[in-house]
């Protein structure tokens, strides 16, 4: 009997292999490794959410951290103000909701402009959020950062499993969405909006939908990560360089694959850590590696795997 069609898809197989490997890590890994991978898994969700927007809807969002930051800070501030009267999970949901609302408010005007201007708008949004955090320091902790009273768990293993499960579920949903009829329409809208319109699709509606989904997962992941770290700071959630890392991860892993973005994120963070003994040089080497992959394998890591299998 032939395996079901979804099992024959290479990204799915790659994803399942990684999940299987990930499930084994707590058996052998130290607390340090688990902590590192926990962060990597949240970053993977950021990258997958970004790929839905770039790889499928064809819109480059230079401000993934706008959505992440909104989620993280909303959840963090609520918790800092209201704990212990409000459950941590309610704060997480509020964070996701804030990211969706902020995303819609940003996307509605931004999607009216075409081409590079959409990207520029999102970039400006990040800078604005960053400024707001600093200006309203009483509320947000400003440049020092905001510490939250609640944490999800003090156990590294528990935190690992939460992040791991969250990444698996988000990945499954985002991947499923990308393969659904909506995913097809999104791709058509991204590639040839004029024709998609003539085929009867409301291009703006579909792109807005993609933005909302992307915002939801970004905000959710951002909020969860706050309660893993116990603090929220501009440097970890909002800064442009964080956004660049997410974009690099998604492109490195393989555009238009969703799962590739997750692979790219884990790879990037693992590489950065493995090269840490080299000090400042580590960032340079990782950047150089990313640049080489983007230049010579524009389809990313997953594309390289697929390319080899095609030749076989």
């Amino acid at each position: 009997m032939a395996p079901p069609s979804w099992l024959r898809s290479r990204p799915v197989v790659a994803g399942l292999v990684i999940l299987a490997l990930g499930a084994c890590v707590p058996l052998v890994g130290s607390g340090y490794v688990l902590g590192l991978l926990t962060v990597a898994f949240y970053t993977a969700v950021f990258a997958m959410a970004w790929d839905l927007l770039f790889g499928f809807a064809g819109e480059v969002n230079f401000g993934p951290t706008f959505l992440i930051g909104l989620g993280a800070y909303t959840a963090g501030i609520l918790d800092a103000r209201l704990a212990p009267n409000v459950s941590l999970w309610l704060c997480v949901l509020a964070g996701a909701a804030a990211a969706v609302i902020g995303g819609v408010v940003l996307a509605l005007p931004a999607l009216r402009v075409r081409g590079p201007y959409f990207g520029l708008t999102t970039l400006v949004a990040v800078l604005m959020l960053q400024n707001m955090v600093v200006v309203f320091a009483d509320l947000t902790g400003g440049e020092i950062g905001l510490s939250v009273p609640d944490v999800m768990s003090v156990s590294a293993t528990a935190n690992y499993w939460i992040a791991f499960g969250f990444m698996a579920v988000s990945g499954a949903i985002l991947y499923g969405l990308s393969r659904s009829p909506i995913g097809l329409v999104l791709q058509a809208s991204g590639q040839d909006p004029v024709q998609a319109g003539a085929l009867g699709f409301n291009v703006t509606k579909h792109k807005l939908f993609a933005f909302v989904v992307s915002a939801f997962f970004s905000g959710l992941a951002g909020a969860l990560m706050v309660f893993y770290m116990g603090t929220a700071s501009v440097g970890t959630f909002v800064d442009i360089s964080v956004g660049v890392q997410i974009i690099v991860a998604a492109v490195l892993g393989g555009r238009r694959t969703v799962i590739g973005a997750a692979i790219g994120a884990v790879f990037l963070i693992a590489m950065g850590e493995a090269l840490r003994p080299l000090g400042e040089l580590a960032t340079l080497i990782v950047s150089l590696l990313a640049l080489l992959v983007v230049l010579f394998f524009p389809d990313g890591i997953l594309g390289m795997l697929q390319g080899r299998s095609r030749r076989d």
Binding site: S180, A188, Q191, D192, Q195, G197, A198, G200, F201, N202
Partner: protein, 484 residues
């Protein structure tokens, strides 16, 4: 079914469509005909809602749809078969057709078997059954066009708009596509065909509307439109006669440009084989030959853009080893068939870039002279090059080449894709150019009637070899039959 009244569309200062009116009934094929830049495509885009008309009414089944976004127009029952589109290259042909069948709802999370069946049925109908699982980049050109047709069929439109249905197709494919389009009519749908000329769609259309410079110039059956006086003038232009030349150039003396045994290879294919020709100072020489005969390749060899064997001598010295930029600075300026304008720059900026080596006063003088030569460019000074019509772009390309003060101007296929009336304007400009300067010109053309009146001498190139050489007077008796 479709009524268009007083439709007007402006892009900035350019009036693309002016007070256009026509109607299409169900079960009828209407041809909307016009030369390049006549506004026919713009009119179609206004009907589809891709562009919003500036003024006028577009009524579909009695309802005014002017200005509605295209997805709403589409849902009312209007489909558009694109001439070019960007298909989903990572998806199969079947999936590409399915896209057109998916309803515009966000709840569509699962693929349905019904959509799959319908997509397969449509693919069979247009003749894509054998390539369903292939991806678009591997398809032949005609199959890509079939896929566009399939996407339009998928929407069950009551009115189908078809953009240049036969462009780039072979005779057999044209017949197959005609049949597919005639099927729309048989099913009671209305069809609007947009094409360059009446002849190619005459057999298919019930009625035709001819457009020129944004306005309707004739309407009726294909035969009536072809007989129409205005249409004939627009398409055939005035009779081209041999223009008299006041001062004949020196028939002897040393050649300015000398090409000896030039040979160019693309991989294994010989594009130019042992061509030798010469051009004297002040001469107007035409190199005529069909598409693919090797004209452009030879010009590129002269300009140093492709590697070649043999020798090219310029003013007595070999050009070997010089970069294309150095050759251009030396006075050989090529005006390529692709025009290569800077689309986002204005007419003036394009010209100023061409004359970047001139002193400000010389530049102003030269601009003035060119604006006298091509008066239409003076009106369009501030307009962005991309929005010019094809003929205006060609004039701008020539003018920009002239800004570089060439000693030899190489004009490659200036008539490519232009309507006959525009040829006349262009021809007049060339005539004035020849009369007012000592400029040496090497013209590459496949349109002999255009090249003949201006040329002092003619070369005929065929399959990369020179086939004939002589005075234009002798062409008709000696070479015309072989050429045509």
């Amino acid at each position: 079914m479709l009524e268009v009244e007083q439709l007007t569309k402006r892009f900035g200062g350019l009036v693309a469509v002016k007070n256009l009116g026509f109607s299409v009934r169900g079960g009828e094929i209407l041809g909307l005909i016009g030369p390049n830049g006549s506004g026919k495509s713009t009119a179609m885009r206004c009907v589809m809602g891709v562009d919003a008309p500036t003024a006028g009414a577009v009524r579909f089944e009695g309802r005014d749809i002017a200005g509605l976004p295209s997805h709403k127009v589409s849902r009312l029952g209007v489909g558009l078969v694109f001439q070019h589109s960007r298909p989903l290259n990572r998806q199969t042909v079947l999936e590409n057709i399915k896209v057109a069948l998916i309803p515009d709802r966000l709840g569509m999370l699962l693929h349905s078997a019904e959509i799959d069946d319908r997509a397969r049925a449509i693919a069979e109908r247009v003749g894509l059954g054998a390539v369903l699982d292939r991806k678009p980049p591997t398809l032949a050109f005609a199959d890509l066009r079939r896929m566009e047709l399939a996407k339009a069929i998928a929407q069950h439109p009551k009115l189908v708009l078809v953009d240049e249905p036969f462009a780039g197709l072979t005779a057999t494919e044209v017949a197959a596509f005609s049949e597919l389009i005639a099927e729309f009519r048989a099913e009671g749908r209305a069809v609007l065909l947009v094409d360059h000329n009446v002849k190619s769609v005459a057999a298919l259309v019930d009625r035709a509307v001819a457009m020129y410079l944004g306005e309707k110039i004739a309407e009726g059956t294909a035969a009536e439109v072809m007989r129409d006086e205005t249409v004939r003038r627009v398409y055939l232009g005035g009779a081209l006669v041999r223009a008299a030349r006041d001062a004949a150039p020196a028939a002897h003396g040393a050649p300015l440009l000398e090409v000896r045994d030039v040979e160019v290879r693309y991989g294994k294919a010989l594009a130019v084989q042992g061509v030798s020709l010469h051009v004297r100072e002040g001469e107007f020489v035409a190199l005529v030959g069909l598409n693919g005969a090797g004209k452009t390749t030879l010009f590129n060899a002269i300009s140093g853009l492709v590697r070649h064997n043999g020798e090219v001598r310029w003013a007595g010295a070999p050009l070997e080893g010089l970069t294309p930029a150095a050759i251009a600075r030396g006075g050989i300026v090529q005006c390529p068939e692709t025009r290569e304008l800077f689309g986002d720059m204005t007419v003036r900026e394009n010209l100023e870039l061409g004359g970047h080596r001139l002193e400000p006063t010389a530049l102003a003088e030269r601009l003035d002279w060119l604006f006298d030569l091509f008066p239409i460019l003076r009106e369009r000074t501030g307009q962005v090059a991309r929005t010019l019509s094809g003929g205006e772009q060609q004039m701008l390309a020539i003018a920009r080449a002239l800004m570089m003060e060439p000693r030899l101007l190489i004009l490659d296929e200036p008539t490519l894709g232009l309507a006959p009336v525009i040829l006349e304007t262009l021809s007049n400009a060339l005539h004035r150019l020849r009369g007012s300067t000592r400029l040496t010109v090497l013209l590459g053309e496949q349109n002999v009637t255009f090249a003949l009146p201006h040329a002092d001498r003619l070369y005929v190139i065929d399959h990369g070899r020179l086939a004939w050489e002589g005075e234009p007077d002798r062409f008709e008796t000696e070479a015309a039959d072989a050429y045509l």
